[in-house]
Point group: C2
């Protein structure tokens, strides 16, 4: 179903177009005729104030169906010898494939209760059309075969497009004269075959019209309705509403429960067994429901069009496109893509009309699948993400300038991410740059920081410009020792030397930073302690330093230290990057950066990286958020000043869809029971008393329980300590038998749960861990005694 | 439905367990009783050679249903006052929530045609069970509510697990004594609510038992059957077969067309209207179908178990796990994960029993979603990939050694990729290393190449070992100028200096290579030409050089040059990397590396990178393939010798699923019409005559049409030439009006299509491009004249 034009005039002339593309059982059964007649009857029963011109036509039919009309006729109406409308080009007779032109046409003028003979304007219209009809009352593919009257998919689509287009004639884009509404009624279930055998949900997919799903109120109807909905969503349809007839089985209860937060559900009164009043009282009773349905359809349509319309501006405001000099990209150059179907984009053109464009530069970079493979992968896994959840994709056209502009896709709901960061950063971030994983997000963050630093220190920038090689200057990062930011070379360079950065692993690594030893915090024997590094000294933080902070293994860094560090960097105009790849999204509890104490930092970064949990464990995606000042350091007249970094799948649709859903889910106290709704903080997942008890166990050195993480360092000496130790292996083997899979970091064991994990599960994990560590300690004691 | 144990003994004793977890309309309707009775009747009608002990029991029911049995009884059978079997713990009366223990039990012994009184072994068994029954014949959630007899989901699962477990008693894992088959029949449609209101497809999901979908042969049944199947696949079920009753509508034709290559479809004969023989002749007629169905179920089950069983060895043979010293990983340490459900893994334990483990180290790294969010994202987008397509995931447990072992997931069907590379590389690659995009794949390839080089040049390795810093040695790559391998620092270092690598873009870039100017090939005025670089000289290729080859923009590099270069490198023990990120998977035609002429290279790389097209445009995923010799350079006794590079989503399930489907689709001449089946080469997509004509146009300088790519360089001079030129913009604007979206590289325009794009579409693109370039040339001429 589709609304192709709507008007805001106070008394607009209306046109309602009803199209039945495929009709079997014809002429005994004709839905377009039913609509034509019922409207006439209902109008007589309850006239509208204005006059309405009602018509019904049948364009093409199989020979048996056409003959049935020729021989027996239908009550009223007439066969016209001339073609009518623009749909029928070929005149008369068999037009190939066993399909004939029918030219059936009937019309009535219904006079409005408040109209008079001298109406100035033409009346409103109800235009009913059957495109193709077959005689036998079976599935269209079977009727087509048995009556030897085949129609190809492209013919159906072509004809349907013309019917819709003709429906719009007289309704210009900006006119307020005519309000047009088009409804297409398909035949049978959503996955019923069309005449060629293609499933109708696939056949009509190129239009991607919003759907009203007619559900089933009978026994078994719940399952059928839900599955039909899922078939539509799989193929990327927007379902505007579900409606079904009441059969006294309160099917709406489970359906409402399933469709809650998805789609509105409407229940029509039971169709009376006594049909003596031709359903007039039933229509009366149902009218409010139909009115609501119409309102929802119109409002959905307007929202969709508004979204497509607003998208270029929003994109230009928020997105940081790769390889793009934003100063050279006006809004008009942003192409909004509604969806992908086969090798085409569906793009939004003027007059709210979606049209197809062949993507000859593989902007869906790797392009590979034809429409059939998409029906295999995409239809089931892909289109869903692009379209189904209100997803709209972007593509930026940069006419004729510069190298390979990567196409970018972005879900409009990405504003959740922005909003998220807004929540926690009080608005510092204004731009989002997409990549594929934490390591690439950090590489991008470093490039941003370098530029920001140069831009803030004009003297240096001038030096760079003077020295074309620029190799005389050695920019370094200021980072915490023991931190980790990823395994690509740039991210490695920002880490302190370790066996993982050695020549054997990456001969190009040099370690381009000053690395600080921070104080750490943990609980030991039920007491929180700050451990100071041996030499508590700040690194040499000169002009050439940038800062990266990040989680250092399972160490919890002293928040006060971090706060002072950030403040000092800000003072010295050193850009601050928060690497939140691991820590982001409640990993360390609450709704904040870094750790549970970090709210006390009262500081904001210039750049921050997020990944991992952002897509809920489903799919790789990373973002680098940046402040406006960072973004501005890249604007200029030349494309070469833009940030030239991109990956093929940057901001790929599935990742964006997963991110939007995950973050929304984590943030909503209706879905995440661990959120305390007033404060929006994550409740404590690890029982404090149990954590204390574990910290008191003789075998335990220290415990850090924070957010979704609980790390326990076992007391160990000599070769039992450190990352290379196998000390904890027997303990973990026992825990595996308890059904807990854990991974050791030498003599440190840790458990992670999700932001939605129930505290009951965490408690049960802690209890098992407590028991096993106690047992482990006793065994170690025994073996010690035995050894002595 | 599930098979929990099977035997290969010649005459095994059999046990068939039929469980009906949820029964409404009881006792008038009882499916377990129906099975019990029909089997008895059929046995009487056609006895089996061996004796069978048949029983039927009803465990629990709502009060109205229990009372109906108490008051009216059921013919035969008896109420037992004692509990029987292990399922009923609580004895008698109301056991809470309005559910009562029923203790209904009936049994019969059917004597086999060839058995005698003194049988040595206990007879075979048919065990029928109804777990929960309600009286009213409505949806279970409604019956539960109306009869005030609620059962929670966990109770149902718990009871079902016990029923299945009891069914297995006496059938040990390796025994050949007893062959057990269990079938569970759900109530209503796949998405019908269970007693709690949860949809049954969600309720039973933790078991992930293989399903037989009972389809619908009536009018409308095609759509219902397909949608129900999609609901199951969405949730990650394996559907073993679809079966439905014939209603004379040949629903099997469209169903077979849809299910082709997916699931076998069986059609049962129509159930006779004359039921006087109690369906005996119908069962007779259907027996062969049921036998086939059973065979398919058994064979699927065995294949699934075999796959789970073989997985550890296959994984150890083929996968290159990140952060893993393979020498320290025996097969026994590989955990095979069948699926994920909520925060648990389902792992395959002994006796073919799948059990759940809490993933306390977030091995699905980012873990976030609870079961409900999975039902929102995963269920629809994620579980499908993990399980549905035969996907099995791996997890490697490395007990207690070394730092953070990343969990790895891998689809077993990844062997398609291996097989693919086998096809094209004649077996050079033996290992696959996963990452997220081309840039990270190249970083990994570089690390591999460095190590291989050091390992092949022991003198250098000793030098490195002597100098712990190792910074004295400067390893460089040998690469082609103009090539591009990605935007992370390591990949950038392997590219020649350009504006994109300047200090302003990445101050850390140094350009660590010798960069060669290769000769290129293109068509000009209908003649293929080789263009030699100004200084045709080979770079200084000393010991410190590694080689990277790759596509240089839209330049086609002379294959002879490449072949000689590779041969020289091989001779000097310089590892060769093929960067196939862009070129792989038919991008440049045929089934080969590099380009259409590359088969003539007769050479193989040591390492190759693939990404982009591998996942069919859906999702980021990259692989770095390596030869065994490269892999061996990383084995040793220390974890520190392993390749320590990883990303959280390495080998993520959705990416693997998409890759398997895409590559399979491209490779199969049934799905990719462009493949010439005998040769497995891709047919020419760009019409040669049209390409020639374009090359003859005065406005055209050169054309390269190859595989899925057609690049056209417009004749341009001065500022009109080069990447920064806007020369082509008016041309592209006109082509956009023709519905072709293209992207310029200065005065070069190019079109890409997919490996499955129809040559007709390509021809139509070429025709439009020809017309528009001709028009463009005339306009340029005119403006030139006008200017003159």
């Amino acid at each position: 179903m589709s609304f192709l034009s709507s008007s805001s005039a106070p008394f607009p002339r209306k046109r309602f177009v009803y199209v039945k593309p495929i009709q079997t059982g014809f002429p005994d059964d004709s839905d377009s005729r039913f609509v034509y007649r019922k409207f006439s009857e209902f109008f007589t029963y309850k006239p509208l104030p204005f006059s309405v011109f009602v018509s019904n036509s049948v364009l093409k039919a199989s020979s048996p169906a056409a003959n049935a009309v020729l021989r027996n006729g239908m009550a009223g109406g007439s066969l016209r010898t001339e073609a009518f409308g623009a749909e029928v080009v070929e005149k008369g007779g068999n037009i190939g494939g066993g399909i004939e032109n029918v030219h059936w046409y009937e019309e009535r003028k219904m006079r409005g209760s408040e109209s008079n003979e001298t109406e100035l304007f033409p009346p409103s219209q109800i235009v009913c059309k059957t495109m193709y009809a077959w005689k036998e009352a079976v599935s269209p593919h079977l009727a087509a075969e048995r009556e030897e009257a085949m129609v190809g998919d492209s013919e159906v689509l072509h004809m349907l497009k013309r019917c819709l287009g003709n429906g719009l004639i007289g309704a210009s884009c900006n006119t307020e004269e005519l309000e047009v509404m088009c409804v297409i009624e398909t035949a049978g279930g959503v996955a019923s075959p069309g005449p060629s055998g293609s499933l109708q949900c696939d056949l009509y997919r190129p239009f991607r019209l919003p759907a009203i799903l007619v559900g089933d109120g009978r026994l078994g109807g719940i399952s059928g309705t839900i599955s039909a909905y899922e078939s539509l969503k799989l193929r990327g349809y927007d379902v505007a509403a579900v409606i079904f007839e009441d059969h006294g089985l309160v099917n709406e209860v489970p359906l409402l429960s399933y469709f809650r937060n998805r789609v509105p559900v409407f229940v029509l009164p039971s169709i009376p067994t006594d049909m003596s009043d031709d359903l007039m009282s039933w229509f009366d009773k149902s009218q409010m429901i139909f009115t609501s349905l119409k309102e929802i359809m119109l409002s959905d349509f307007r929202k969709r069009m508004q979204r497509l319309h607003d998208m270029p501006k929003k994109a230009c405001d928020i997105i940081w496109w790769p390889f793009t000099q934003h100063k050279l990209v006006p809004e008009e150059k942003v192409t909004v893509i509604d969806s992908r179907c086969g090798e085409n984009f569906a793009v939004n053109k003027s007059c709210n009309w979606i049209s197809q464009q062949f993507d000859a530069c593989a902007s869906w970079w790797t392009q590979g699948p034809d429409a059939n493979l998409q029906a295999e992968i995409s239809v089931q896994e892909f289109v869903l993400c692009i379209n189904a959840h209100g997803y709209i994709s972007f593509l930026l056209t940069l006419g004729g300038f510069g190298i390979a502009l990567d196409s970018m896709t972005l879900g409009n709901d990405i504003y959740f991410i922005i909003r998220f960061s807004g929540d926690i950063t009080k608005g510092w971030a204004s731009r989002v740059y997409f990549s594929d994983n934490g390591s690439t997000a950090v590489e991008i963050a470093l490039k941003m920081a370098f530029r920001k630093f140069l831009s803030d220190n004009k003297v240096l920038l001038d030096l760079v410009n003077a020295d074309v090689n620029g190799r005389s200057m050695d920019l370094k990062v200021l980072a915490l020792r023991g931190s980790y930011h990823g395994d690509t070379l740039g991210a490695m360079e920002a880490q302190a030397p370790s066996p993982y950065t050695g020549f054997l692993q990456q001969p190009w690594y040099r370690g381009r930073g000053h690395f600080l030893d921070p104080p750490t915090v943990s609980m030991s024997d039920d007491i929180w302690e700050v451990a100071l590094p041996q030499k508590m000294q700040s690194g040499k933080s000169g002009l050439e330093c940038l800062l990266i902070q990040g989680a250092g293994g399972m160490q919890m860094i002293d928040p006060l230290y971090q706060r002072i560090l950030v403040r000092e960097c800000k003072y010295r105009k050193i850009p601050v990057i928060f690497d939140e790849v691991f820590t982001g999204f409640w990993r360390l509890g609450r709704e904040i950066f870094m750790q549970s104490a970090a709210e006390m930092l009262y500081c904001q970064p210039d750049i921050a990286c997020f990944a991992k949990l952002m897509t809920g464990g489903i799919i790789p995606l990373a973002v680098t958020l940046a402040s406006d000042a960072v973004f501005e350091a890249f604007t200029g007249d030349s494309k070469l000043k833009a940030l030239l970094h991109g990956h093929s799948y940057s901001a790929h649709a599935m990742g964006c869809a997963a991110a939007v859903k995950s973050v929304k889910w984590f943030k909503d106290s209706n879905t995440n029971m661990n959120l305390i709704s007033e404060t929006r903080l994550l409740q404590e997942l690890w029982d404090a008393a149990l954590v204390s008890q574990i910290s008191l166990l003789p075998a335990v050195h220290r415990v850090v329980a924070l957010g979704t993480l609980c790390a326990i360092e076992l007391l160990a000496e000599g070769s039992n300590a450190g990352y290379a130790s196998m000390y904890a292996s027997s303990l973990l083997k026992n825990l595996l038998e308890d059904g807990i899979y854990m991974r050791p970091l030498g003599n440190v064991i840790y458990m992670m749960c999700g932001p939605c994990t129930s505290p009951d599960i965490c408690r049960s994990l802690l209890e098992k861990v407590y028991d096993r560590i106690q047992e482990f300690g006793l065994q170690k004691d025994e073996s010690a005694v035995f050894a002595a």
